[in-house]
Symmetry: C2
């Protein structure tokens, strides 16, 4: 996979958007698409799109546009969607529940194998056929079950501690919903969904337009 | 509020992070903080931080650092958190429920005044003391109740239609959780929380490190 080297974060952040739009074209039985058509759909410039696809080795033919199915498959592979990922959720509150019930989860190749919480009222209950376990048993679970991704949905006060336990047990990806910046070693990837920051940005933009 | 003019999106996106870290300093009774200390905490460079704060007119004194309380209040005002916002949630599924129960919501000045769904099983039920209404009544609700923000938690197939109704009734801010790019006029602000894009980015980064 040498062609993936040195790709900027900006390009990487655009890949899921390409993936989503190509999936929609596929559903609508579109065979070929030009960078100009994609540009009108997605909002990036056609030249930006051609440049991005060139980072991954092309896939297009001048004048003929891109083969949608081929491009979709290639981007799936680049994104790593040709594999399956073992995941656990830590924190079975509102956000943990929403993530567990997130319908695209399994379609993308994520297997939910464990849910952990500290709340005795939740422990023993089931979400998506998985029994919520005591968070004190997480360390042992991780030692016995290879886990790729930990989804942190606990309060910000304990999020770093949860992340440390995940990392110590070889988890290589963290999807963090707690409103703090979690620190992880360089060989661990982290993506944050900071709801409050998104909401505050919205309010700022509304007030800015209101001037 | 002329000082807000011409501030780049990059700076705006950093404001909620400053706000969050300053709130934490306040909770820990810290009175003053230098750009260097903030830099170690937040991860931006000290010169970046000084430059950002200068965009809004300063607040610091060379050698003395920033007054945490003053800076916090000023950033709150800049973000528009000195006002209250009337909001409604459209879509009472998993994500709608998580947002309704999101504890920071009220603290930030958001009043949840309506929840709408299409599902007869949900209509009439209560979430956070608010009865879920038939989505067919939303247009009338909006005509009778000035609403600042609409939170879209419906499937992607109907999200644009919901947004159009919101915009036609004067809603000026949209917080969108549906996995599509919603189009709104220039005088309406939109912030997207695209969970699937975040998750796909995580998987890409994991595989990239794995090479």
């Amino acid at each position: 996979m040498d062609k993936k080297k040195d790709i900027s974060m900006a390009v990487i952040k655009r890949l899921p958007k390409y993936y989503r739009h190509l999936a929609e074209l596929l559903r609508n039985d579109v065979d070929r698409v030009s960078s100009k058509e994609l540009s009108e759909k997605i909002g990036f410039t056609a030249s930006q799109i051609r440049q991005d696809f060139n980072c991954f080795g092309g896939f297009g033919q001048q004048g003929y546009g891109y083969n949608v199915k081929e491009l979709y498959n290639e981007i799936s592979t680049i994104l790593g969607l040709d594999k399956r990922y073992s995941t656990i959720i830590i924190g079975a509150g509102n956000i943990g529940q929403a993530v567990a019930n997130y319908t695209r989860f399994e379609k993308f190749g994520f297997d939910l194998n464990g849910i952990f919480d500290v709340n005795p009222k939740l422990i023993g209950m089931k979400m998506k056929d998985i029994e919520i376990s005591d968070i004190d048993t997480m360390d042992e679970f991780l030692k016995n079950n290879k886990t790729d991704i930990g989804i942190i949905c606990v309060p910000h006060t304990v999020a770093q501690r949860v992340a440390d336990t995940l990392v110590a047990n070889g988890v290589k990806g963290i999807w963090n919903f707690a409103p703090i910046d979690i620190h992880v070693p360089e060989n661990v990837s982290i993506e944050n969904v900071h709801l409050s920051e998104s909401l505050l940005t919205l309010v700022y933009l509304m007030n800015d337009l209101d001037k």
